[in-house]
Symmetry: C2
Subunit: 227 residues, 2 copies
Amino acid sequence: MVEVAVRLFTEAGYEATTMDDIAAATGMSRRSLFRRFGSKEDILFAEHDDLFETVERFLEAAPDDDPVATVRSAARMVFQEYVRSPEITVPRFRLVRAVPRLRDREIAMTARYQAAFSRFLGRGETAGRRALTGEALAASVIAAHNHVLRSWLHSPQEPVPWRRFDEAMAFVTGSLGALLREPAGRGGAAVQDAAPQESVLVAVYPAAASGEDVLSRIRSALGSEHG
Amino acid sequence: MVEVAVRLFTEAGYEATTMDDIAAATGMSRRSLFRRFGSKEDILFAEHDDLFETVERFLEAAPDDDPVATVRSAARMVFQEYVRSPEITVPRFRLVRAVPRLRDREIAMTARYQAAFSRFLGRGETAGRRALTGEALAASVIAAHNHVLRSWLHSPQEPVPWRRFDEAMAFVTGSLGALLREPAGRGGAAVQDAAPQESVLVAVYPAAASGEDVLSRIRSALGSEHG
DNA sequence: CCAAGTATGGCATCTAGTGTCATCATACGG
DNA sequence: CCGTATGATGACACTAGATGCCATACTTGG
């Protein structure tokens, strides 16, 4: 039934397809369509709403010993659901790219995820360093998720890039996630610009390098910054 | 004229105020209202669109020697414009919080900034480590901007928190911004979970600490992770 | 078999948004 | 000074999404 609407949208265009057309094509009455989906856009995003509720319940039920890992798992759930039903998500992706109204709707959808992740990571706080870190981390997780998802939606015949997904997640949670665990106010010297009282040092290196190798690299980096 | 619409919206509610009401209150005809603003929502966001174009031109004209600093300045411009005309932005903020339709519109607006920042930071790339870093960084910058902006919009009689704004910006650009400059593929051992081939180390410490102090802290952290 | 609750359909209506045409003002060339 | 071209405005009609209302099946339980 949703498939019928998607087909009509892709064939004739989203704006050109009226609710009467969909009603005629599905056999339902116009009025029942609105009762079931609420609006024309929601025909495309109905399952997405269900998914969001599932994710919210997942977050509520999760233990809070490792919020970053929980959020990463939640993002993985969303990714999973996308790649699980490409017959819906792929045409919807094309529609969303083409129709501004639908794009805004999609963005609003991901913003709801981001808000849920923020609340969870910030543990209800809305101000202060923890809240800010949670919001930035949630935004980064969403960005990483969408980054990998978009690339797959462009070529859905390719195998699902689970590895790249996990790498992207690790990448964004590795830097900001560490800041979320650190009690604010530790530290030493800034390699990079940072808040006045507090400095942040970030190093990226191949996993095979030895600890001493890493330390010597950091030492030289610190030296060149501080003279 | 926009003020009249804002007043009607806040007094009678956004949904309850029709375009005929606004036309009657402003003296213009309904048709001219649509010609000037395009839609009912755009009455509230008209100036915002102008601001976005300004920011886009700013990014186009900016030298690309320090993209992170450029984006930080762009975010500062947006913040500046918000706090500059509270008589518009504050009531709009209240409306946006109350009306879902307007909230989605606002989110779409900030998503446009985020996309512009992403493109600028990723230098046109849409795949790969640089693109991902740019997207995550853009998302974090937006999150930090909105974090500080929201707190001020809640109590606009307070002085503008420029310091907190700059600190928040430094905080998010300090960690991910460093990653954007690093040529991918350096590194050694993970203190935090990270991508398989590549590890990320993050240290947060008071700016007063000495380099040797920082190194010893990192050494012990590495030791405890690798056994 | 009936009664109560529920899903569905048909109809009217409201309102955002668009296309069209007439009107009016301003500006410009003769 | 007059005719004309152009741009802004207004009036009207129309489309389509969305909602309320009421009548009609359809199902469930007694």
